[in-house]
Symmetry: C2
Subunit: 291 residues, 2 copies
């Protein structure tokens, strides 16, 4: 790694520490120390079991206990024993606690909106932030099987269509393509997998089945910010696993010669080119893979 690259990285760290440090202190704006506020925040986001809280916030058992006592005294949380295991306990927000949690959320949102509002070219800034956050957090990218009308799926599909429109010389219009029925992309006929990085959808792929031994891969997309991380390969592998579990023996897909990265992936992972098998106007290349 060159000295210049390291200097640029460190400059980034400094700039962001300054900015994000200020963000942290906004937690102090409500007269509660950071540690307590972090617990309130984690409980509000659904991390209610104490052992999970300790792991997530990296707290000593004694310290967490004390912080929770403080929040209880303020009337913000309740703790009860976990049903099923009397040793464990769970914390929940009271009504007051919930509104306090929301006040913190609103504060953070407002702070973020303010910084973004002052930025020129906010779209470029956000794209850069997505890239940085995705790369730094690439160990924590998770795949999840969802319905194609889940918001995360819809977000990916919209981005996928926009990208096709930009990359196909003649543009792209979903209406003139074959848009698979939702029922064909959920179990037991098919599947829809999204990749989430810290909650943000950054990739997807669909398995469209007909209930038999054949199924089709559709809608493989990876966000620009997540390219180069091997995510497409991971999505494809997950979908192949899902297909096997559904009893599918042969997969097909159609593609377009403008989608060079995808084609390289198919060729590198055991797909073989076959003849055209549909009359969709956009694809010009067709592949299959036996499982």
């Amino acid at each position: 790694m060159t000295a210049d690259a390291v200097a640029r990285f460190r400059r980034f760290s400094r700039a962001v520490t300054r900015e994000v440090g200020a963000l942290d202190e906004s937690f102090l704006g409500r007269g509660r120390p950071l540690g307590v506020a972090r617990v309130l925040n984690a409980v509000g986001r659904g991390r209610t079991d104490l052992s999970g809280l300790r792991d997530e916030l990296n707290l000593d058992s004694g310290l967490l206990s004390r912080l929770l006592r403080g929040l209880e005294a303020e009337g913000l949380v309740d703790t009860q024993v976990q049903r099923g295991d009397g040793r464990r306990r769970v914390a929940t927000l009271t009504r007051v606690g919930r509104s306090e949690f929301e006040a913190y959320e609103a504060l953070s949102d407002a702070r973020a909106a303010e910084v973004l509002g002052r930025a020129p070219r906010p779209e470029a800034l956000l794209a850069a932030m997505d890239l940085v956050a995705t790369v730094l957090g690439r160990e924590r990218i998770v795949l999840r099987t969802v319905s194609p009308d889940d918001p995360a799926a819809v977000h990916c599909l919209r981005a996928y269509y926009a990208e096709l429109a930009a990359r196909f010389s003649g543009g792209f219009d979903v209406a003139s393509s074959r848009d698979p029925a939702v029922a064909d992309m959920v179990a037991p006929r098919g599947a829809f997998v999204v990749a989430l990085s810290d909650g943000l959808p950054i990739g997807c792929v669909a398995l469209k089945g007909d209930g038999g031994a054949h199924a089709e891969i559709k809608r493989l997309w990876v966000a620009p910010s997540a390219r180069g991380l091997g995510l497409a390969r991971r999505l494809m592998a997950a979908t192949e696993d899902a297909a096997r579990e559904l009893g599918v023996a042969r997969l097909r897909l159609d593609s377009n010669s403008a989608l060079t990265e995808a084609l390289a992936l198919y060729r590198a992972t055991g797909w073989t080119e076959i003849d055209r098998f549909n009359d969709d106007p956009y694809p010009d290349l067709f592949f299959e893979k036996r499982l």
Copy 2:
């Protein structure tokens, strides 16, 4: 600002807090608390006057005093009264202190190199980090007059040539253009101004004079990460001021129709198009401005 944009911003903050938080703790890796390490770092970087240290690190006078006593006891810094004002004091690193400072630097460099080394497409990551850091730190961009052979200037010029090569349909080669002599771009004949964001050069402009009442603007460049911040305008204004102070009455410049942003700037800031005044092969548009 849309909810989606705010969510993306906050995701970025979380990701970076995690990563940079870990970076902060690397300071703790040498058995010294963060506060002390920060003081050592600031002194090592040349911030030696105590009042400046207090401002920069946002420390109470008493606390700084105590931290410095600790560093003195370790034999890492010396403090003496400032010559000229016996109330003020300055801190300097001892030889041991200097090597300890360098150990911290090496540690931070190694940490940065490690993260970068694991990243796919490090150039894209760095470009995104530059953009984020420049935009977040745009209030702290400073202009500085330097010699054209200063490293910051050289960095900008190299990037400028590379950009011309990419944007001119026929490419660009400095050798076949007129490269001004260094002496024409330093006082009293001319000037060379760079823009620095937290030490990183992100823009430049040259004033090439011949000692008389005419001078020429050359080498106006702004890094991609810094576009949209009004930096070119600021650089041009600074150069015009410098020209006035050198007694220049009329400025000229040549440009190329591929450089649309620059042309828009010239037209918006009082420049008028004139006839070709040189036989350089690259420019096809010529401007002047009376001061």
